[in-house]
Amino acid sequence: MNEQRAGMTLSPEEVEEQSRTFRDCFAHLRQEIGKVFVGQQHIVDQLLLCFFCQGHALIEGAPGLGKTLLVRTLSDALSLRFARIQCTPDLMPGDVTGTNLLVESPSGHREFTFQAGPIFANIVLADELNRATPRTQAAFLEAMQERHVTVFGVTRYLDEPFSVVATQNPIEMEGTYPLPEAQLDRFFFKLRVAMPTVEELSEIVDRTTGTLHAQPAPRYGAPAVRALMEVVKQVKVSPPARQLVLHLVRATHPDAETAPEFVTKYVKYGASPRAAQAMILAAKALALLAGRFHVAVEDVLPVVVPALNHRLIRNFHGEMEQVTTEVIVRHVLDAVHGKSHA
């Protein structure tokens, strides 16, 4: 209903204009991030999709691959408020959400004043989130899902746009607290940053060891970004694309009659409805980028893996045989999409 109300305030021509602005904005971001962040174009695109769909991203990669730089550049290019939280085992929830401090006024009167935490930003980078304790991780939960925090019984809403980009290091697991499934499910996409190629590495060395440091040109701002996010939501979904998404999610469950053998063999729990929401929303953004106002099947396919790979829980056999969730998702996609095409 909100979507329809928001759409009704605009004429079709205005929506068309906004869709053009969206494409321009996306191209601008790609260009500005490309000045700073070398290579990994698909990671950049998926992060942007995630951001415009008001989702949260979990970036997994080895240290030094530019994860923090990527997120900061995104924030700078959009003139948004950026906050970085380095998660450690002694990080407290109050350090994230903020707390009430006893403050003395100039008149000598003392009162509790809420001191907002770093979560009150447009883009929050939670670096090495898996090093924070589950208690602190839970503090992120409410913010990510409800888009508000409750401190001392007072609920405070976060500014829009709001997006949490968390990173985690897959190689140093000692002293970490693996993210619970409930929290993993709240991430829109899980992106894996790979090691750069030799050419990309050479470019990184050239850019970072010289005297010139490229700075992204800030444009748009929070209100414009919010408007663009609304346009993405208004995109319509065609029945075939919808059916594909629904069948994909259903097929990830080993007890489903449509589940492929690979799933029944290696998967313990399938994807939640949030996976379907994520795929549809990301496909909407992709459709808009392609100049369409409806989601086609082609828009769904590129977002299946990042939307599903962190939402599947492998069973004992899957873990023992080291079958990655990405491989499982690709099997599901082949089974469902191939079947629908046949």
């Binding site: 319509k236 065609s238 075939p240 106002f293 989601v295």
Partner: protein, 378 residues
């Protein structure tokens, strides 16, 4: 009506037209398949059961009607829904689910829905249902044409007595006469027809009034004509064609023993027996060679001519005939082939020119069909 409603109304109408087109294509294809199948089946049944003309025609009509009804039912049952039709259109036009999405948004007044429906409308109005859903029935038509041809052939077969029936009658086959089979059990129709043809041919103005000498010349010339198509082209078509038809008809009813035997028998006996009656008739018809007695010694010529005519049409080795008469094999195989071809051409010409009485045509035609089917061997 709002602009969105107007667009929606139009796009629904267009998709309905596409659906009608899909239904029509389904129907036509089904008609071609079912009618072909049923017609072929009924034709096969007619062929096996030697059906009469009436029963064959009735069967074919019933088969065609049943095919039409089945096709209509199939097309109605197989007609896709509007959404499925939209999916077909998207698939054919490569519009990436645009039409399917638009069809789902018919009652959505949001600006994005209007844009989707308007875009789909633009794409759909730039093409036609016939272009998007073509018939593609070439193979179906070819198969149907093949089956219809087969059906017509069997129909024609049912209309006329089979060649083996004619031959059977000629060999004294005494089947029960009946209106359905068209076979007579008294003196065979082939015999009668041969005589009729012979008589008619002998009454032909070009052959009347010749003396025996002329007949001999004619017989000789006939032997020479056999030698090549160039000679045949100089002949009087009326005479030669009718004569040869008569010979063919006559020979077709004769004992199918090899030409050597026939020729030898003719030479040895010199008197007409049952076979010779016909042979003499033919000899008289073809060459005006006079009474049958002349065929005895000479054997002759008239008989040789008869045999030559038979060999031309029937593909009997002309070399054998030549040996029988002259003792030498003067003609090559190539010339024989061309001679046979010439004889067939002349036979067809005779049929075309109505040289053969209409009542006898089917016997002559059956004879040639049988020759054709057997590859020229009798």
């Amino acid at each position: 009506m709002t602009p969105a409603g107007s667009y929606a109304h139009r796009i629904e109408g267009i998709v309905r037209r596409y659906r009608s087109r899909v239904r029509a294509v389904l129907f036509v294809r089904a008609v071609l398949v079912t009618t072909t199948t049923t017609t072929a089946a009924v034709s096969a049944w007619n062929l096996l059961s030697n059906s009469t003309v009436e029963s064959a025609a009735t069967g074919l009509a019933v088969a065609a009607g049943a095919g039409l009804i089945a096709s209509a039912l199939f097309a109605l049952h197989g007609t896709p829904t509007l959404q499925d039709t939209a999916a077909v259109i998207d698939d054919r036009l490569d519009t990436r689910n645009h039409v399917a999405a638009a069809l789902q948004l018919l009652r959505d007044e949001s600006p994005m829905a209007v844009l989707v429906v308007r875009g789909a409308l633009l794409k759909l109005t730039s093409t036609t249902p016939a272009a998007v859903v073509p018939m593609h029935i070439t193979k179906h038509i070819a198969a149907a044409a093949l089956c219809v041809t087969i059906a017509l052939l069997t129909f024609a077969r049912a209309q006329a007595p089979l060649p083996q029936q004619v031959d059977g009658a000629a060999h004294g086959d005494t089947r029960e006469p009946g209106p359905d089979t068209g076979i007579a059990n008294d003196d065979t129709r082939a015999d009668v027809s041969a005589r009729r043809v012979a008589t008619m041919a002998s009454q032909s103005p070009s052959t009347q009034g010749r003396d025996p000498g002329t007949s001999r010349k004619s017989a000789t010339a006939s032997e020479e004509r056999v030698a090549g198509p160039a000679d045949a082209s100089h002949r009087d078509p009326t005479t030669s064609n009718s004569n040869e038809m008569a010979r063919e008809a006559a020979v077709s009813k004769r004992d199918p023993s090899p030409p050597f035997e026939r020729s030898g028998r003719g030479q040895g006996s010199g008197t007409p027996d049952d076979d010779d009656v016909t042979l003499d008739s033919v000899a008289m018809a073809g060459n005006a060679a006079g009474p049958p007695s002349t065929a005895g010694t000479g054997t002759g010529r008239s008989l040789a001519t008869v045999e030559g005519g038979a060999s031309q049409a029937g593909g009997v080795s002309l070399g054998e005939l030549t040996e029988a008469n002259t003792g030498s094999s003067a003609l090559t195989r190539q010339r024989m082939a061309s001679t046979v071809a010439t004889a067939r051409t002349q036979a067809v010409t005779a049929l075309t020119n109505d040289d053969i009485p209409p009542g006898l045509r089917r016997y002559v035609r059956d004879y040639f069909l049988r020759l054709q089917a057997s590859g020229g061997r009798r």
